[in-house]
């Protein structure tokens, strides 16, 4: 079976890329910065630094993929926008494709010979 590679989207990245982790965390509801750090560490085992976290938040907000909701004391929660949801879906689909191909190849059901596409 031959499979054309999925086109790479603006969301493309590794599963542990900060923007993907942040979008994934916000998929279950709004969170502020520190809650994002805790959630990401809990579900991905990745300890993001505060600078990395806010660098990614700034870029995601600039691209309209997340937005701030009303300030809550000294914190400001963020939530996923519709565009952010679409980008996250595309990124997860891309990762799932890789996971599926890898799993099939490991189990030997893909029929591909090493180095030669099936």
């Amino acid at each position: 079976m031959s499979q054309s590679p999925p086109s790479r989207t603006a969301s493309s990245g590794r599963p542990n890329d900060p923007p993907i982790l942040i979008l994934t965390s916000l998929a279950s509801g709004p969170r502020h910065g520190y809650a994002l750090l805790q959630d990401i560490e809990a579900f991905a085992g990745v300890q993001l630094g505060p600078g990395t976290l806010y660098g990614a938040i700034g870029r995601l907000e600039q691209r309209g993929l997340i937005e701030a909701v009303a300030e809550h004391g000294r914190t400001r929660p963020y939530r996923l926008t519709a565009a952010g949801s679409r980008v996250l879906e595309a990124a997860l689909l891309e990762m799932r494709t890789i996971v599926d191909v890898g799993t099939r190849r490991l189990s030997g059901s893909d029929g591909a010979v090493a180095g030669v596409p099936a």
């Binding site: 502020h32 910065g33 520190y34 750090l37 300890q47 630094g49 505060p50 600078g51 990395t52 976290l53 806010y54 660098g55 938040i57 700034g58 870029r59 600039q62 691209r63 000294r74 914190t75 400001r76």
Partner: protein, 301 residues
């Protein structure tokens, strides 16, 4: 992490970024510190992230900016690369000032050609960079007349401040040097050597401060496509000059090292020359990256 360190770390970010995210970032750092996370690792992470935010704000890195910003950022990166190579060139000049005395007259041929090439390329590059600055002057004047002074007032004041300090330092150093003998001036007086190093650092900070002002201006004045193409071409030539300087320095280094290995025997020459060569190579790579970024943004390549 204590309050002073925290404040200093936040100052690494651009003011607009601090106004938007500073309070939140501070809260996360304080909570993370209380949770036992390493302040050193957090400090390094914040410093690195601040450098990225600043580079993005200048259009030097990142794809999420306009073509115009990427082209401007590429040219600005070349300007920073030039400052780095100018500093390294000055260090090389100082460290190598007595090399002719260490090399027999008959063996100086290649080294002399290489050293002259370094100086010639430096002069050419400086002229090109000044030309790049000069073509933007009418736009800068128009921006200032149009009320743009308030946007650059802070960085200009800072640059003027460090310039005054550098000038005073230079004057004091010149007076002191006049009272010392050649041996004391060339490594014999440790205190003098330390003050000279401090002076070099002060001059480097002054250059960096004015380059930061130029970078800010480049973003504010909004160069049109024609001017940007001119700047990109000048940036390419300046990068070529940097490459020539780097290669010629390596040739000079190797040539002198092969006929007078003793010249680089002491750390007082070998260390600064090595540092200068490394900085030159880094500057040339940065210059090439900046030129490529500007040229790609303008569809020149």
């Amino acid at each position: 992490m204590n309050g002073v360190t925290l404040r200093l770390l936040l100052l690494l970010y651009p003011r607009a970024w601090r106004a938007r995210y500073g309070q939140e970032l501070r809260y996360v750092i304080v909570r993370s510190t209380a949770a036992g996370r390493s302040p050193w690792r957090m400090g390094a992470d914040v410093a690195r992230a601040a450098a990225v935010v600043r580079a993005q704000a200048l259009g030097i890195v990142g794809a999420g900016v306009t073509r115009h910003d990427r082209a401007t950022g590429g040219c600005v990166l070349v300007l920073w690369a030039w400052v780095a190579i100018a500093i390294s060139g000055a260090g090389l000049q100082k460290a190598s000032e007595h090399w002719q005395g260490a090399v027999p007259t008959g063996d100086r041929g290649l080294a002399t050609v290489a050293f002259t090439t370094v100086i010639a390329a430096a002069v050419c590059g400086a002229v090109i960079v000044l030309a790049g600055v000069a073509v933007t002057v009418p736009r800068v004047v128009a921006m200032l007349v149009g009320g743009g002074w308030s946007d650059i007032r802070g960085p200009v004041r800072w640059a003027v401040g460090v310039t005054v300090i550098a000038a005073a330092w230079t004057l004091g150093l010149a007076i002191w040097a006049h009272r010392l003998g050649p041996v004391q001036r060339n490594g014999g007086d440790l205190l003098y050597g330390a003050v000279v190093m401090g002076w070099g650092l002060c001059v480097a900070v002054t250059l960096a401060a004015w380059t930061a002002v130029a970078s800010l201006l480049a973003r504010q004045i909004g160069l049109g496509r024609r001017l940007l193409v001119t700047e990109a071409v000048l940036a390419a030539v300046a990068t070529g000059a940097m490459a020539v300087m780097s290669v010629a320095t390596l040739v000079w280094w190797r040539s002198v090292g092969s006929v007078a290995p003793g010249f680089f025997g002491g750390g007082s020459v070998a260390t600064p020359v090595t540092a200068a060569v490394i900085l030159m190579a880094v500057a040339t790579v940065l210059g090439a990256a900046g030129t490529a970024r500007a040229a790609r943004a303008l569809d020149l390549i």
